[in-house]
């Protein structure tokens, strides 16, 4: 047993952090929200240069065929910086879907080298395709059939950098049990990647709130000296600390018999921890946190929008219990 990240994985996360910290992601996110994707897509190309877009693409198709743990490490860091774009869709769900549902070497190659950004709708769990206006490949997986998708008009999203599009099937790409299996695997990996984004975003919110509480002075003291503030932040730290091992364990069991149980458990915990982080970070900041100028809103709205993105919390809890009561004690 060795239940810790390798030094290489820590280095990978640090490299992504340094790249994103130097890329003005918040500025790119504001443009993305206004429908101008150029700056955000440039960051995506830089990430492709570090191999991020190739992680979940099989080696035979020009990708890295990396372990799900590597994917989780990357997606946590993208969540940490609230990167705009269809992260879990293009980096996790679509590569899995295409690799397992049929023969799509060109698209997989494009995903791997970063020239193709893709999104997917898979009702009922994923009823809309995120960022279909920024993606160059839109898919629909429904009732055992994979379609090339035609997006309709977007509906309003809490996260303005993540627009949600209804999708109609325009052309059948494949159908039958392999497509059903591939869809189920793709949803699982998408859920895992989304959970990692949530954990990373939660960590960022905690960091920002701790920094602010250490500087802001009221009543002649830094507000981080007040226990009313300290204890709320401690509870966020505890929630994140205990969500992380569930996330890694789910990555280890991806594709195995306990995958559903572990992925859903991780999702529930990561979403709860990130949600607590949003409420606490906003409360600790006070009014300044409620402004776009400060930027906390990018993380707050992304977290709240990602929580229902890959199935509701209740659906995931039900899945955990279904797995537990099916196979006995474990």
């Amino acid at each position: 047993m060795r239940f810790v990240l390798s030094p290489e994985q820590h280095q990978f996360a640090s490299a992504l952090h340094e790249l994103l910290a130097a890329s003005d992601v918040p500025g790119a996110a504001r443009c993305w929200a206004a429908g101008e994707h150029g700056r955000g897509l440039a960051i995506w190309r830089d990430l492709a240069g570090l191999g991020v877009t190739a992680l979940a693409v099989p080696e035979a198709a020009g990708g890295l065929g990396a372990h799900a743990v590597d994917l989780v490490v990357a997606c946590e860091e993208l969540g940490h910086h609230a990167l705009p774009g269809p992260v879990a869709e293009s980096l996790a769900a679509v590569p899995t879907l295409l690799a397992e549902a049929g023969e799509f070497p060109d698209w997989l190659g494009g995903l791997a080298d970063g020239s193709l950004i893709a999104t997917v709708a898979a009702p009922p769990d994923v009823p809309f395709a995120a960022d279909a206006d920024a993606a160059s490949l839109v898919l629909l997986a429904e009732a055992g059939t994979l379609y090339l998708g035609k997006p309709g008009d977007p509906q309003r999203s809490l996260d303005e950098t993540r627009r949600l599009f209804p999708v109609l099937g325009a052309e059948v790409l494949g159908t039958g049990p392999p497509v059903s299996r591939a869809t189920s695997r793709a949803l699982g990996l998408g859920t895992l990647a989304g959970s990692a984004q949530l954990l990373g975003a939660g960590r960022a919110l905690l960091e920002m709130a701790v920094r602010y509480a250490g500087q802001r002075v009221q009543f002649g003291r830094r507000i981080g000296q007040f226990q009313a503030v300290q204890h709320q932040l401690a509870d966020v730290a505890i929630a994140l600390e205990f969500a992380r091992p569930l996330l890694y364990a789910a990555a280890l069991s991806a594709g195995g018999p306990a995958a559903d149980r572990d992925t859903s458990a991780a999702r529930v915990a990561c979403a709860e921890a990130a949600h607590r982080a949003t409420r606490t970070a906003l409360q600790v900041h006070g009014a300044i946190g409620y402004t776009q100028e400060y930027g906390l809103d990018l993380w707050i709205t992304k977290v709240r929008a990602l929580i229902p993105a890959w199935g509701s919390q209740s659906a995931h809890r039900a899945r955990v219990l279904a797995a537990l009561t099916q196979d006995g004690a474990r």
Binding site: M1, F3, A66, V210, Q225, A234, L246, L252
Partner: protein, 373 residues
Amino acid sequence: MNTHMNLDLDAEAITFRDEVRDWLAAHVPARPLPDVDTEPGDAAHRAWERELAEARLSVVSWPSAYGGRDASPLHWLLFEEEYHAAGAPVRVGQNGLFLLAPTLFAHGTPEQRDRLLPRMARADDVWAQAWSEPDAGSDLAAIRSTATRTDGGWLLSGQKTWSSRATHADRAFGLFRTDPAAGRHRGLTYLMFGLRTAGVTVRPIRQLGGGTGFAEIFLDGVFVPDTDVIGAAGEGWTVAMSTASHERGLSLRSPGRFLATARRLVDLWQRAGSPAELRDRVADAWIAAQAYRLHCFATVSGESRPGSAGSMTKVFWSELDVALHETALDLLGLQGDPDWLDGYLFSLAGPIYAGTNEIQRTVVAERVLGLPR
């Protein structure tokens, strides 16, 4: 980029786990032992400890010289999982095993270890802890009980309270003020004393659940030889804090206990007809128990954390234990299942003992997060 992360057990770990599992299956009493805080319960639990010790299973993580097996932290976790999954009796010696023993290994003399540890491993000596005083609870450094110098040792005077197991235990350990002129944290000394020694009066305290799991200890000129001081005189605070971090960390609250309880909760939910209105809470309780277990695996794998990270663990398991039992009570309604009722009452103490959760959150805020003091 190849990942080396894994949760797999090697052959050695599996062999050890299976040996423990088989032994427990053959030896765990079919009917629960009497309450450990009664005279017959104390005797029955000591007998159980001797049985464990004869199988060299009472202190698996200790060196073999003291009756252990030099088990790695991972093997210790596996032992605990099996122990709790088997529904084995509460460890009557837990104060000694999990609080005093780590202190003796870190700060004791070879003579102390040789004299005390083998007897502890067989429950020939059962130890009580004597930390708190009427005016020193969360603020432990406010201790007023004194140890004054005498020929060949010290004389203890004062009052200790909330001393777990003290009613039936043989000996106790705690902090005493040896230099009243020194500052709050200085001038304290870590001492061990006999509970049946002249000058000691133990008064059991009836707890919320009706039992007498803790007691008051009155000390009036109780003699302690120099050989029963741990560490140097005046260094007691430092010595005690190493014990306290064991208490908050892995030792006392093993994940096996919570996962076993979570599995019982899932079974209870299923037997109650899988009521939809409690599904979310049952799932959350199991998820938290699993999170705690995995977190322990990360810890024994050597994940680097500040020592004060144990404070996060303490808040997490104590709240988890309450949530598990609260959910069970809501599933049971008015059915009086004694295991769940007793477990619930016990869980209520968790957020208080071993350092209140408020103290722990302050430690997390200041030492883990680096917030200003």
